[in-house]
Symmetry: C2
Subunit: 252 residues, 2 copies
DNA sequence: TAGTGGTCTAGACCACCTG
DNA sequence: AGGTGGTCTAGACCACTAC
């Protein structure tokens, strides 16, 4: 029985066997592209791991790893004894670890930043606990207002260890915090965040240009680098008509 | 050089080589437990893949897979040419795909449910689009109020394809929606959700026992089964002082 | 019974980091 | 220079599903 999809012949042409890009990655990338743009239709069945391997001259583990990659992204479903199938209909994007600035950039809006505060302060208790330092230790405090196409989106308060005290206001106004950190060789790998809601407080209504007593969406985040050291603690509040959190969850 | 951790001798005793539990899974499970309870301390370095394999009589790929499992969970960090290290300090739990009911159950509170509406209705346009059916098609509509230890937590409105119209009010009051679906052989695998905030509307203030005009946290969710077919569309609103969303993000 | 994916083995070569 | 993880190969056996 062979009602498998026969994908475009050139899908896997020009595999680069010598370059630095892993084969499984080249394959999963091309497969993903073909699924997303419909060249491999939703619901269709894929050829066998072994079959693919033979046609491409690859070992089964390599093909398997490429496929597994897409299973993890929720694009493929596998059942033992049955085969591999493209999910029906819904093709979802992955949850990614980005800053608001990058979110706005990628959504084709023009991000703007106003730095409202930028100073070294003694760490309040909650901040100290989150960053894993002693209360009262000097930390960098930054308060910014973010806008998109001129409309206020968020007020962001961040605390960083004093090792980052030399970050400049210029940098903060032209780039996202995570971009600045990455340029310093710090990669954020894990973030714990808590999303909630409350009434606007203090000067937030003015800054977000909403009525007094309006609801705001809140997010608290602690971000860690590759070795698990806390790099940033943030308390942000968003104007709910200009920003929502979208996530895609995939069960293990 | 060997400043590697020597973990408790019995950590990998009693590996079951014949049973149905994969070896890599047994290993990653025990490793995870040892890391979480501190038997393997934060920041310490692990033995080499090959070294572990030799001591346990396992091949490198098997050991590698077990380790990779924990890297994906954010508990281990690997660097080529260096080694594998337990993450410093912060040990995080995984994001999971659960319903509110299960969230409350696992947090040791007593969940309560009041079914406010339970009927078959023609699908509104937005619902039809989310579920992938024609507008006006019959769908099951359920509106519930959830509470925890007697305090209102959320109002949940769900729409399901009419195939699920035989779900009973009794079931809805005693179990979570996802538990009911699972008992029918439907496993939720992917969910897209959007989290936001707004003012309370209509009867929500009364039901949540908050002041008129109070902010509420909102969540919209479309859930899909293993083959990508939409199973459930939900619009929920939460009392922000009794519920927040907590997530852990791990960069690829 | 035939075919699928799930697991596992025992090697190999390479890029990268540390000394 | 030596050791690490990253990748890849070519097999093998098994559990499960469909026919």
């Amino acid at each position: 029985m062979n009602d498998d999809v026969v994908w475009p012949d050139d899908l896997f042409a020009d595999l680069d066997r010598t370059g630095p890009v892993p084969l499984y990655f080249q394959i999963s990338n091309r497969l993903e592209a073909a699924i997303r743009d419909g060249r491999i239709p939703a619901g269709s069945r894929l050829e066998t791991e072994i079959g693919i391997g033979q046609r491409l001259g690859l070992s089964r583990p390599t093909v398997r790893r490429a496929i597994q990659e897409l299973v993890g992204k929720g694009l493929l479903v596998r059942r033992r004894g049955v085969g591999t199938q493209v999910v029906h209909g819904q093709v979802t994007r992955q949850v990614e670890l980005t800053s608001l600035y990058e979110d706005l950039q990628s959504s084709q809006h023009e991000p703007g930043t106003t730095v409202l505060a930028h100073e070294v302060v003694p760490a309040p208790e909650k901040v100290a606990e989150s960053l894993g330092v002693d209360p009262g230790t000097d930390v960098l405090f930054v308060r910014r207002r973010r806008s998109s196409d001129g409309v206020p989106v968020a007020i962001m308060e961040n605390y960083l260890p004093s090792a980052y005290a030399d970050i400049t206001t210029d940098q903060l106004e032209s780039r996202g915090l995570y971009q600045i950190l990455r340029a310093r060789g710090v990669t954020i790998r894990v973030a714990k965040q808590r999303i909630g809601a409350r009434r606007e407080e203090r000067d937030e209504a003015d800054l977000l240009e909403v009525d007094k007593g309006s609801p705001v969406l809140t997010m608290e985040r602690v971000a860690y680098d590759a070795t698990g050291r806390a790099v940033e603690f943030g308390q942000h509040c968003y104007r709910p008509d200009t920003y929502t959190f979208e996530t895609t969850l995939i069960a293990k």
